[in-house]
Symmetry: C2
Subunit: 418 residues, 2 copies
Amino acid sequence: MALVVTKFGGSSVGSTERIMNVARRLVARKEAGDSVVAVLSAMGDVTDELVSLAAAISDDPPEREMDMLLATGEQVSIALLAMAIHALGHDAVSFTGAQVGIVTDPTHTKAKITEVRADRVREALAQGKIVIAAGFQGMTPDGTITTLGRGGSDTTAVAIAAGVDADVCEIFTDVDGVYSADPRICPAARKIDVISYDEMLEMAASGAGVLQLRSVEFARSHGVVIHCRSSFNDRLGTIVKEADDTMEQAIISGVTHDTSEAKITIRDVPDQPGVAADVFTRMAEANVNVDMIIQNVSEDGTTDISFTSPKTDLPRARPAVEAVVRDLGARDSSIDESIAKVSLVGAGMKTHPGVAAQMFRCLAEAGVNIDMISTSSIRISCVVEGDKVEAAVRALHTSFGLDSDAVIAEVAPGWGEE
Amino acid sequence: MALVVTKFGGSSVGSTERIMNVARRLVARKEAGDSVVAVLSAMGDVTDELVSLAAAISDDPPEREMDMLLATGEQVSIALLAMAIHALGHDAVSFTGAQVGIVTDPTHTKAKITEVRADRVREALAQGKIVIAAGFQGMTPDGTITTLGRGGSDTTAVAIAAGVDADVCEIFTDVDGVYSADPRICPAARKIDVISYDEMLEMAASGAGVLQLRSVEFARSHGVVIHCRSSFNDRLGTIVKEADDTMEQAIISGVTHDTSEAKITIRDVPDQPGVAADVFTRMAEANVNVDMIIQNVSEDGTTDISFTSPKTDLPRARPAVEAVVRDLGARDSSIDESIAKVSLVGAGMKTHPGVAAQMFRCLAEAGVNIDMISTSSIRISCVVEGDKVEAAVRALHTSFGLDSDAVIAEVAPGWGEE
């Protein structure tokens, strides 16, 4: 007799047949005695199709209207799933983001949840109904439709789980859980059974695509236990929760990698106080996200500044960097899109000082050059050449004893989905 | 400086190009100084596609969830039109049926509007915005999404026009207005410039497809002036309003026809008191709509009862009629699907007693046999053989002096749309 919030992504509800499968799973849970809330994304490619419609009308559609448009995607999914559950002889009721009480700020296309008014969900559960809620969307206090942006459906599920004080928030996805590395490039990767919020946050931030950063942050701040599992089988996946003594004390939980960033270098900037502040103020003004930063001081009174940014920010970064070069009297700038980042994440490294040294030695032995380094208390990240990153992941995975005994027989079809 | 509510049907917004055309029209109105509210249907075949999705899941989906599903259709249209208007440099805001304040009873799939809370529309108009509202949908007082059923978008437009006290409610459609007969079968038909609510109601009820009965009823009871016009040109269409002395005093306004009904006959029913009540109580219980009724008493103490019903009701009518034959001891029953109904509508017939006689004589001279007759104070309808109905319409149109001087050059592409 548990109260369970379950989230199914777009590929899990990508066709009417798959929606029937989801309905059967939910009915089985209900018949086993659980109270069930399901949070859905839009079907398969529906969101992309809606974006194309908008693009045919405007290069720069108002974000309020994009949210009005995109919110229809989940509304279709929830209605169909409720019909499917009725067809199986059980009672279900669907709610849009607004109806389910997801209140947000008015930041269209990436709204933040400010409140969850879960009365309606609680009422429907008390009536014995399976509740189906639209993920990804909410409304402002004055009733305007908003969307939560990337990872929004996961965040909706965690928020509703917090709102109804659920026992667990299950995130169904197309992989078996969180892996110690991306199984597509590291066949020896093993599924992690339990992981702490902090480690999961570092893994999500450094490239693990299974769970979205925002949903894990929301879960941590509201104490929601997440169970990340496959929608294609009934095996246990990965539990994400507060660290406690029962967790296995691995030094390293996983190796992640990220090929979505580029490295920008500005050479021979006059080395004066405030120059770095100047550069990164301009990047922020150009709405360019910056991840890692290094600054090398040379002997002639100039300095080189390098930083990494998402490749998707480059159209805004290029003119901003050119302006910096011109205005600060630097020599020139360059952008390297062929880099990648490899990271080690593990709570155990706080108490094991040799981890960084072992990481650098392992990479050197594998012939991988390190370009930039950044660390947190439970993560070490290195920027390396893009074509070496897969070898780097495999070498680190083996070096830190993460390889499973057997190569996993069945590689999941993808590596996470919205 | 008028306040105008305009409604565009599914084919008027059937593609992104057509949505851009609608946007240009609205912007021109706005630039001419009018305040503008646009009410939209779903794009082209979107509603049919959503119905197919539901049919793939369930033979009998819950109506609440059908409404949740179908309401997405208009939500897509309104968002895209708002984007199109922004792309033209004007300010627009879209509202769902719930947001625009269309409050309904909870009769899902055919809800009735109980209240229009137009504050949000008035506010947005006061801010100089073009307001885009989703037709066809509303919400119950507790916030559940409903749809209004067939003709719902027209009704939404009229309801909002009543709510904001608009000068006129324009219904854009794919024909130039209301014609004195269906121009596809009567090339001499002429567009009617002005028509009273009562005549329009009779025409809509007897086969004219341009305006939906419910929207005209709503307009009459709230005194909303309707202008029914083409979305493909700027010509004036047909004004529907309260009868007054300025209207032309034609005896007959139009000739309508309807081929959607079948005639059901039950023969040799014992002629006892209450037998007709019994038959039609059973039809009502089987949810069979009945239009015209005739009963002939024969000399041997039995009677024949004939009535017309929509062909779409036949699956329910057949077993109900068979039960009546068995239970009342009638001889047998028959169903004739090849009939049609032709009607004359005109407020002038109240004061011109010879209209019926002229109609019957005209049909006789055209070789059209009359099977059943029914009348109201401003309408006479005859059931005739289906393959004679087009000839009947043309003969009556000529006989009552309705033919235009010239055959209309450009026949509109269809005869009304949702």
